[in-house]
C-alpha cells in the first residue's frame, strides 16, 4: 500500500516528521518498507519566464526564446513547440539536467543559434500525456522556483507492507485512523456535499437483483448523467501518480481515487451501453466466455460471479469490468457500482484467471460493508463535480445480507497474563475505543463491539493482540522460561542427531558438504537412465529443470561438479545428506522420503603439494570411505558385491551389511559424466541412512578381554589368474575354520607379467587364546591352509 503523506494530512493533522510516522506505523504492525519521493527526479526543473520568443531565422518550426530563470542573465533556449509565447511561465530543464526519459540536456547550437536548456512538455516530464506543446504554468508561480515546489509535488509516499488481516489499512482513511489513534489526533472524514438531481431517480432507472446473496451481500449504484469525459484536475492526477496509478480520465480516476482513499473498490459502467434497466448479480455458467476491459476473452465457470444487465454479463464481479460497457471518450451517463463481494469467490476467480487487481486484492481481504455507502456518495459527488455531470436522486440498492455487528468478551486479566503486562481496565477501554471499538462494562471485563472495518477482530485473543500492539510489543518485559522435562522422557526424534554425526564424520575425513535442490528435471534423471517408476512430479514447477523430486542424489552432485569445473575447481571431494523421494501409496503423503548420504570424488587423490603423492583416484578411494563409515556406524565390516549392470555406475558395487543393502558405489559411466564436463573418472557412493541408522541404533558394544599370548604372523603369496577375486581367497581362508586364525590382511598385490596373472601377498595372524604357539604348530596349520587353498582355487604358490 502506497500512502501519500499529504493525502493522509487531509484526514488527520499530523505535524511530525515522515520518519517518525514511518517508525510508529512500523512498530504497530504496519511495516514501512520504503519512504519514496515520487517526483524527486523532477527536482532540478525550475519555473522560467519567457521574455521573448521569435522565429529561428533558418528553421521554420523553431522559436528562439530568452527565458528568465531568476539566475541573472536570461537563457537562450530554442523551442520547437507551437504554443510557446513571450510572457508564459514554463518548466525549464537547464543544461546538465536529466529528464525522466533519460535525456541529458546539453548546450547546443541549432542551425547557428545557441540553446542552453529546454522548455518541457507534460510528456517530457512524465506529468501527463499532453505532448502537443509545452506545459504552460500558472502565472503566479515565482520565477526560478523549483517546479515540484510550485506544483506541490514535494510529496512523501510511504510504501507499507499491509498484512492480510488488515484490509482497513489498504486506504488512506484506514491509515489515518491508525495515525490518529497513535498520536492522539483528531480524525476528520471528508464532508459530503452531494447534490442530487431530483428530476432523475436512480432506482427508477436501474433496479438491482441479487441471485446470489452469499456471493454479494450488498450491491448499490448511483447514476451520474451528462458527464463530459476529460482528464482529471491536475491535483487528482498528480496524487494518483504519486501512489503509482496511471491517470486515465475524470471518471475512471475517481473510482481509483476513492479506492485508494477509502479502500472501497468501485466500477463505472457506461449507462447507455447497458441493456435494459436491471443489474443482476449471478454466477456464470460453465463454458461461458466474457471479454474483460483489457480485451481478453476469459473462459468462465460456475464459480465465477458476474454482474449482468438484462441481456449480457457486463463485469466480472470485483475483479474486472467488461470491454463492452466500459467508459470511453464519448460516454455521457455513468452507472457507478459500489458493492461487497464474498472474499473467497473473488479470490478463486482472480487466481484462476491470473487477474489480480487493486480491486480484487481488497475484496479478497474484506471491504467495509457498513462504510461502503459513504464511499459511493463521495465518489458520485467528485465525479459529478469534475465531469460536469448531475447525480441522479437516490440510489439503486439491494442488501440481502446486511452487516451484523459482533460482540466479544474481553477479560483484562487474561490480556495481562498473555502479554505479561499490568495495564488497568481503563487503559484497555481507552485504547479499544480509540481503535473504533464500542466498549461496554460487563461482568468479567468488557463487552466489545469491533468496528465494521476490522474483520480481523473476531475473538477475544484478537483484542489482546490490539492491546499488545498499541502498548508496544517492544515494551513488554523479558523473562526466560524454564522448560519442564523429566529424565525418563525419551527424545521425540533421533534423526537430527544421527545425520549430524554423519556430517561430522564426512567433514572430518576431508569432504566438503554441499546442498543441492530437492527437485531436478525429468531430463536429468533420464540422462542417468534412472528408473522412471515412482517419481514424484511437482504439479506447478518453476521450470522444467525443477519439475520432479529427486529419487537420487547424483544429478545434483553432477551439477555441483559441472559448476566447480566451470570455475576452475578441478578436485572435488564432496558429500550431501538429503532426502530421496519416491511415490508410495502407503504413505500419508503418498511419498516415501529416505535420508541418504551421497559422496562424490573427482580429480587427484591428493592436493598437488609436496610431500603428497600425485596419483589418480581409483575404486579403493570411494570404497575406503564407505568401509570406514560402515565400520564406525554399524560396528562391523560390510561386504561388497559386484552388482553387474546398473543405470549409471560401472563398475557398480553393492554394500551389504547383515543381508541389508546399505548402498551402492562405483564409477559414474563416463559417457554420462562427460555430459557434465567431467574429463576424469567420477567416483560416487549412495548410502541409505535410514538403514544405517537402524543398524546403528540396535548396535551394542561388548568388550573382549585383551589376548594374553603373543601372535605369530606368516605371509603367504599366491599367484592367481586376473579374474580371481580377493574375496574368494578370503572365503576359503575363513571357511577353513581355523580357530587360531585371528586376522588376514592383504599386504601386497603386484602383476609380474602384465595382463596375465597377479600375485597377492596376505599376512595371516595366528594366536592361541591359552598358550604361546610354537613355530611347528603354526607351520602345520599354515601348510594345511595352503593345501586347501590349492584344492579350492586355481592358484599356485610361488
Amino acid at each position: 500500500m502506497l500512502l501519500s503523506l499529504s493525502w493522509l494530512k487531509e484526514f488527520t493533522p499530523y505535524k511530525g516528521s515522515v520518519q517518525e510516522l514511518a517508525h510508529r506505523l512500523t512498530m504497530v504492525g504496519l511495516e514501512v518498507e520504503e519512504i519514496k519521493r515520487p517526483f524527486a527526479h523532477l527536482s532540478s526543473i525550475v519555473v522560467g519566464h519567457v521574455l521573448e520568443s521569435k522565429a529561428h531565422p533558418d528553421a521554420d518550426k523553431l522559436s528562439l526564446c530568452r527565458v528568465d530563470i531568476g539566475s541573472g542573465e536570461a537563457l537562450p533556449i530554442i523551442c520547437g513547440a507551437p504554443n510557446v509565447a513571450a510572457g508564459q511561465k514554463v518548466a525549464v530543464a537547464q543544461v546538465g539536467t536529466e529528464l525522466p526519459g533519460g535525456l541529458i540536456i546539453k548546450e547546443a547550437r541549432i542551425r547557428g543559434q545557441a540553446s542552453q536548456g529546454m522548455i518541457c512538455s507534460e510528456t517530457e516530464l512524465e506529468l501527463g500525456t499532453d505532448s502537443s506543446g509545452i506545459m504552460v504554468l500558472n502565472q503566479d508561480f515565482a520565477i526560478g522556483a523549483s517546479l515540484t515546489q510550485a506544483l506541490e509535488l514535494e510529496e512523501y509516499v510511504l510504501d507499507i507492507g499491509v498484512t492480510p488481516n488488515r484490509p482497513d489499512c489498504l486506504s488512506v482513511a484506514g491509515l489515518a485512523r491508525e495515525t490518529a489513534a497513535l498520536f492522539d489526533l483528531p480524525l476528520a472524514m471528508p464532508s459530503l456535499k452531494l447534490e442530487e438531481d431530483q428530476s432523475v431517480s436512480c432506482p427508477e432507472q436501474v433496479k438491482i437483483v441479487i441471485d446470489d446473496p452469499a456471493g454479494c451481500p450488498l450491491y448499490q449504484a448511483r447514476l451520474i448523467s451528462g458527464c463530459k469525459v476529460a482528464p482529471s484536475p491536475a491535483n487528482i492526477r498528480y496524487r494518483l501518480m504519486a501512489v503509482g496509478i496511471r491517470p486515465i480520465n475524470n471518471i475512471v480516476d475517481i473510482t481509483n481515487y476513492i479506492l485508494m482513499e477509502l479502500g472501497q473498490p468501485l466500477h463505472s459502467f457506461d449507462r447507455d451501453l447497458l441493456k435494459g434497466s436491471m443489474i443482476r448479480v449471478a454466477r456464470a455458467r460453465n463454458g461461458m466466455t466474457f471479454k474483460t476491459l483489457d480485451d481478453q476473452t476469459r473462459n468462465l465457470d460456475e464459480n465465477d460471479l458476474l454482474i449482468w444487465d438484462e441481456l449480457n454479463p457486463v463485469a466480472l464481479a470485483g475483479v474486472m469490468g467488461g470491454a463492452d460497457t466500459e467508459i470511453h471518450q464519448q460516454s455521457r451517463n455513468v452507472l457507478l457500482e459500489c458493492a461487497v463481494f464474498d472474499p473467497l469467490t473473488i479470490r478463486k476467480t482472480a487466481r484462476r484467471l491470473g487477474l489480480n487487481s487493486e480491486s480484487s486484492f481488497r475484496f479478497e481481504r474484506g471491504v467495509d460493508q457498513a462504510g461502503s455507502r459513504f464511499a459511493l456518495d463521495r465518489a458520485a459527488e467528485l465525479m459529478g463535480s469534475f465531469s460536469g455531470g448531475r447525480v441522479a436522486a437516490g440510489l439503486s440498492l439491494a442488501e440481502p445480507r446486511p452487516y451484523r455487528t459482533r460482540i466479544l468478551n474481553f477479560r483484562p486479566q487474561k490480556a495481562n497474563a498473555l502479554l505479561a503486562l499490568n495495564v488497568d481496565e481503563e487503559y484497555c477501554r481507552k485504547n479499544l475505543t480509540l481503535l473504533g471499538c464500542r466498549v461496554k462494562k460487563a461482568e468479567h471485563g468488557f463487552e466489545v463491539e469491533p468496528p465494521s472495518y476490522r474483520p480481523d477482530l473476531e475473538r477475544e485473543v484478537d483484542l489482546f493482540e490490539e492491546i499488545g500492539r498499541i502498548y508496544g510489543l517492544d515494551r513488554i518485559p523479558e523473562h526466560l522460561p524454564r522448560v519442564k522435562k523429566a529424565l525418563g522422557q525419551k527424545p521425540l526424534d533421533n534423526r537430527f542427531a544421527f545425520t549430524s554425526k554423519i556430517k561430522q564424520w564426512a567433514a572430518g575425513l576431508g569432504l566438503n558438504e554441499v546442498i543441492n535442490y530437492s527437485f531436478v528435471g525429468m531430463a536429468d534423471l533420464d540422462l542417468l537412465e534412472i528408473d522412471r517408476e515412482n517419481r514424484v512430479k511437482v504439479f506447478n514447477p518453476l521450470s522444467e529443470e525443477q519439475d520432479v523430486l529427486r529419487t537420487d542424489l547424483l544429478p545434483g552432485m553432477l551439477q555441483t561438479l559441472r559448476h566447480n569445473l566451470g570455475h576452475g575447481n578441478t578436485r572435488l571431494r564432496v558429500f550431501e545428506v538429503a532426502n530421496s523421494f519416491f511415490s508410495d501409496s502407503t504413505s500419508e503423503t503418498g511419498v516415501k522420503e529416505t535420508d541418504r548420504l551421497a559422496i562424490m570424488l573427482y580429480g587427484l587423490r591428493h592436493r598437488e603439494q609436496w610431500p603428497l603423492l600425485d596419483q589418480e583416484l581409483d575404486f579403493s578411494d570411494i570404497k575406503g570411505l564407505v568401509e570406514n563409515l560402515v565400520t564406525i556406524y554399524a560396528g562391523n565390516r560390510a561386504r561388497f558385491k559386484d552388482l553387474g549392470k546398473h543405470a549409471y555406475l560401472s563398475p557398480a558395487v553393492l554394500c551389504v551389511y547383515d543381508n541389508l543393502n546399505i548402498g551402492i558405489l562405483g564409477r559414474v559411466r563416463p559417457e554420462m559424466s562427460r555430459a557434465y564436463k567431467a574429463r576424469k573418472e567420477v567416483w560416487f557412493a549412495d548410502i541409505n541412512l535410514d538403514r544405517l541408522e537402524t543398524i546403528h541404533d540396535s548396535r551394542q558394544i561388548s568388550f573382549e578381554p585383551l589376548p594374553r599370548f603373543p601372535v605369530v604372523k606368516r605371509d603367504m603369496t599366491v599367484t592367481a589368474p586376473l579374474n580371481l577375486k580377493y574375496d574368494q581367497l578370503v572365503d576359503v581362508v575363513y571357511e577353513s575354520g581355523l580357530s587360531i586364525l585371528e586376522d588376514m590382511t592383504l599386504v601386497d598385490v603386484y602383476f609380474p607379467q602384465e595382463g596375465q596373472e597377479k600375485k597377492m601377498t596376505v599376512r595371516l595372524t595366528f594366536r592361541h587364546p591359552e598358550k604361546t604357539l610354537k613355530d611347528k604348530e603354526v607351520d602345520k596349520v599354515h601348510q594345511n591352509l595352503a593345501d586347501s587353498i590349492l584344492k579350492k582355487l586355481p592358484v599356485k604358490f610361488s
Binding site: M27, P481, Y517, V538, H567, R573
Partner: protein, 350 residues
C-alpha cells in the same frame, strides 16, 4: 721396579695419546678406529696389560689398579667424544631442518554454512531443554495449512507461494507443520525445535525455491509474551553478539496471535544505516534494522486442532530463515551462493 715404573709411565701417557688421537677423529667411524687402537682386544692398553703378569706381587695390585683407572678414563674420554660427535651431527641436521616445509595434511573437510548455523542454533535451544524434531518435506495440506489456521482460500496463503504435488499435497512451505505433528504426539509441557528444508514457488535475487527454516515452540501453562521475548533476545545475543539490539514489531501470522517480527540492529553498519565505505548500508537498506524471524503466541485455533485446551495452555512459536541468519552472521551477500556449492565458497566455513 724398573718394569713397574715403565708400565706406569706408559699407562699414564696413554691418556694423553688417546685424547690426541681422538682430537683428529671427526666421525664416529674415526672414533671407533681410535677405540680399537687403544681399547681394542689387541689395542695399546691390552698390550700394556699383557705385561702385568710379569710384575712382582707387590707391584701387581698397584699397577692393576692404575690400569683400571686408566681404562675408565679412556672410556670416559671416548664416550665424551662420541657424545660430542653425535651432538655435532645433530646440530648439523638441525641447521638444515626446515619446519616450514608442508606437512602431510589430510584434506580439510567442511560442513555447509547452513548446517553450521543449524547446529549452532539447535545447540542453544537444546541447552535450554528443547527437543530437536524432524518431519517430512512433502506435507499434507492439513499439516502445512489447515491445522495452522490457514483454511483453503485464506488470503494469508498468498504469503507463501506454494509448490504442489497434488491438490492436497504440498512441498512444505515452512517448518511449522512440525508444531502440529509434535503437539499431536505429546501433551504439554512441550518444547521443541525443528530444522529443515522448506520450499516456495519463488526464484529471484533474494529468493530460492528451496531454503532452510528452524521452527521452535514451547507450550505450557502460563507461558507469556515475556517468555517469548526473553527467549528470542537471549538467542539473538548468543547467535550474533551480546551487543546486538533486538526489537519486536507486531505482524501477522495465522497461527500466532499476537504475532511479531523480530529485527536485530544491522550487523553490517551496527545500526547506523551507513556502510563502512560511507555509502548507504545495503544490508538494512539504511534502516539500521534487519528482520531475522517471525514469532508469536500460538493461536488458540491451533491448540483446538491438536486437542490442547486453549483456556489452560498458552505457548509461543517462532520460525527463522537459516540462510538469512547465515548471511548476516558470515556477511554473505548473495543468497544463491548457498546452492551453487562452489568449493571456494564452501571451503571458507572451516
Amino acid at each position: 721396579m724398573a718394569l713397574a715404573a715403565e708400565i706406569s709411565k706408559n699407562l699414564k701417557s696413554l691418556i694423553q695419546e688417546f685424547e690426541k688421537a681422538l682430537d683428529q677423529a671427526s666421525s664416529l667411524q674415526e672414533a671407533e678406529e681410535a677405540r680399537v687402537d687403544f681399547l681394542g682386544r689387541k689395542g695399546r692398553l691390552a698390550v700394556i696389560m699383557s705385561q702385568l703378569p710379569l710384575l712382582s706381587p707387590e707391584d701387581k695390585p698397584l699397577i692393576g689398579r692404575l690400569a683400571n683407572e686408566v681404562k675408565d678414563s679412556l672410556n670416559q674420554i671416548l664416550n665424551d667424544k662420541i657424545r660430542n660427535i653425535q651432538h655435532k651431527a645433530q646440530e648439523e641436521r638441525l641447521a638444515v631442518f626446515d619446519p616450514s616445509m608442508p606437512g602431510r595434511t589430510p584434506d580439510t573437510g567442511t560442513v555447509h554454512p547452513v548446517t553450521r548455523v543449524i547446529n549452532d542454533i539447535c545447540a542453544i535451544f537444546v541447552r535450554l531443554g528443547f527437543d530437536i524434531v524432524t518431519g517430512p518435506e512433502v506435507e499434507t495440506d492439513f499439516y502445512n495449512f489447515e491445522a495452522l489456521n490457514l483454511p483453503p482460500g485464506h488470503p494469508a496463503r498468498d504469503m507463501q507461494d506454494t509448490l504442489y504435488i497434488s491438490e492436497s499435497i504440498v512441498l512444505r512451505t515452512h517448518t511449522s507443520p512440525l508444531q502440529v505433528r509434535t503437539m499431536l504426539k505429546r501433551q504439554p509441557p512441550v518444547a521443541a525445535i525443528a530444522p529443515g528444508k522448506v520450499y516456495r514457488r519463488d526464484s529471484d535475487l533474494t529468493h530460492t525455491p528451496m531454503f532452510h527454516q528452524i521452527e521452535g515452540f514451547l507450550v505450557d501453562t502460563q507461558v507469556s509474551m515475556a517468555d517469548l521475548r526473553g527467549t528470542l533476545t537471549a538467542f539473538a545475543h548468543e547467535i550474533f553478539d551480546p551487543g546486538v539490539k533486538v526489537r519486536f514489531r507486531p505482524s501477522f501470522f495465522p497461527f500466532t496471535e499476537p504475532s511479531a517480527e523480530v529485527d536485530i540492529s544491522c550487523v553490517m553498519c551496527k545500526g547506523g544505516g551507513v556502510s563502512s565505505d560511507g555509502g548507504p548500508c545495503r544490508v538494512c537498506k539504511e534502516t539500521g534494522w534487519v528482520e531475522i524471524l517471525g514469532c508469536g503466541m500460538i493461536d488458540p485455533a491451533v491448540f483446538q486442532k491438536v486437542g490442547y485446551d486453549p483456556e489452560k495452555y498458552t505457548g509461543f512459536a517462532f520460525g527463522l530463515g537459516v540462510e538469512r541468519v547465515s548471511m548476516l552472521k558470515y556477511g554473505i551477500g548473495d543468497l544463491r551462493m548457498f546452492f551453487e556449492n562452489d568449493l571456494r565458497f564452501l571451503s571458507q566455513f572451516v
